[in-house]
Point group: C2
Chain length 337, copies 2
Amino acid sequence: MPTIEDVAKQAGLSRTTVSRVINDQPYVAEEKRQRVKEAMDLLGYVPNSSARRLRNQKTETIAILLPNITNPFFSHLIEAMEIKASAWGYRVIICQTHEDEKKELDYLELLRTKQVDGVIMTAVRNEWSKIKPYLTYGPIVLCNENVRGANLPVVYVDHEQAAYEATRHLIQQGCRHLAYLSGGNDSIVAQNRQKGFLKALNQSGLSPVLDEKMEGAYTIDHGRDVLHSLVQHHPNVDGVFTGSDEVAAGMIHEAKQLGLRVPDDLAVVGFDNQAISLLMSPSITTVEQPVTEMGEHCVETLVHYIEHPSVLFRQEIVFRHQLLVRDSTQQRVTMIS
Amino acid sequence: MPTIEDVAKQAGLSRTTVSRVINDQPYVAEEKRQRVKEAMDLLGYVPNSSARRLRNQKTETIAILLPNITNPFFSHLIEAMEIKASAWGYRVIICQTHEDEKKELDYLELLRTKQVDGVIMTAVRNEWSKIKPYLTYGPIVLCNENVRGANLPVVYVDHEQAAYEATRHLIQQGCRHLAYLSGGNDSIVAQNRQKGFLKALNQSGLSPVLDEKMEGAYTIDHGRDVLHSLVQHHPNVDGVFTGSDEVAAGMIHEAKQLGLRVPDDLAVVGFDNQAISLLMSPSITTVEQPVTEMGEHCVETLVHYIEHPSVLFRQEIVFRHQLLVRDSTQQRVTMIS
DNA sequence: TTGTATGCGTTATCAC
DNA sequence: GTGATAACGCATACAA
């Protein structure tokens, strides 16, 4: 494994000169620059990244914290983030927290131990007081998440408004007994969605159907479970706002198994506009988020803070969402032949 | 940011002793061990990982190369790998190659520049002669992939046998005009599947329907396109073996749109047993791979080679697959009331 | 324009 | 048991 020293010897020059060539610095005679390059090629030299990190106090690596990569929302987010990070010359370490407070903190340690230059959190379980100290060691950006009291860049869509629109739509379709599924933990995102849900109900003088079994639902299987719970305990429910297309898909699938008609007996709204929402029959009414743009923006913001260190300040970037109405809430228009 | 030196001063001891405590080494008096620990707590000391890397010539990081994280097969693989790697104390860098030869090599450079200790490749576009040189810098393990001439650990299922079984099943269901979709690039995996497909056909004296439009299909949209191509150019096809549930789902969805009945007019087999294969109606007959076990095994093999350096030798670990017969190939049995 | 010397923070070697 | 000291490989202040 050749070092800069070996290259210097081979070229008959000093380490400094070689270093200058490596880093494209000026004040190197063109002739010597060539000599160095030849020596590097000859020896197959590559700068040792560990040494560079130590010397430069930079890792060119970022960590992305997320609950679970198999959730399509997150895998799409990561896809965009990795591409953008890579374009900026950064590596991406993936950190699945599985909604575990301790794991979340363990991964934040990457910042303190200088293994990454910055962190993007797409889900936060710890309270702000636990997170805040890590800002000493590098920037943190929140994506699709929010934390009470946190003063750092936050990227998301207006979940309250989205839920409000979706719920209004359900009411317009004739639903009168509506249930809300958070689509995640007791995060602020979930709370905001609930706010929007309740607001729409209040405006129409309706009251919500709530059930603790419906909290924390964010997988297909949760959707199945919830549907059973609904049928058993709240058979009059005729419309559901869920926090994810997976939950919606699970509910619809199970509803069909039980002979319920969607949307006639039960209308369902999902979230995220995943591939599955179009493939299901009936197709799923859902809320689209600009995942790619959000991911890219997060990376750019983070990289900016990494390369221009300064005190982080609260900065909310709200992306536009869109309600996509499909068959799971709307009667298909009968073909007139 | 306190260093080991600061801790030493604070404790009134030498760097060496502090280092011994950090690394849980013997030959430190219990009393001093305590003093060091107190000093570390007091100063909030954390070992600097960059310095450690340089000194130990180890990064405790691995790179996972994959085409695209949004493909559920890969996201499930990564999930398992990340968990296992984390349990072994390794970080995971995610590297999306997007089927690009150059990106693949760029990411392999992580090995040469000492940014990772080892690499798992879940897709290979370059030929062996391009990959081989990197083995000088660290171990590489292939997952769900194979390369002609490669002498390194390879983890996969028997795709030829799986395709054979799936195709036989289609024939048993009465299909006589069968088409094959590789479900990926012109990889050895795809070739093996094709072998199995053709073997089953030969045994029954049938000949395949082939179409260049069907190569490289591995997304829902590809599935849609392929179906159109099929309807247009090969309307007599009554059975398809696809390389992924996504493609199968896309085909089925589009077939329904066009008024084709599945499986009556067209039977479809997928691959991977993704969530979607159960949610679609009809549910999709598919081949299950033990993704989690495969991912875990890859990481364990790689970590083994990292921690016990030795010449890599060819070593094939074949996991068991299973054909899951569902409604996309089989008439639903009518309930007798 | 080039080279020398120093330090980034850690751990291993060796002497005490 | 403990502590000086020398690397690990690189990049920069400073001298020439």
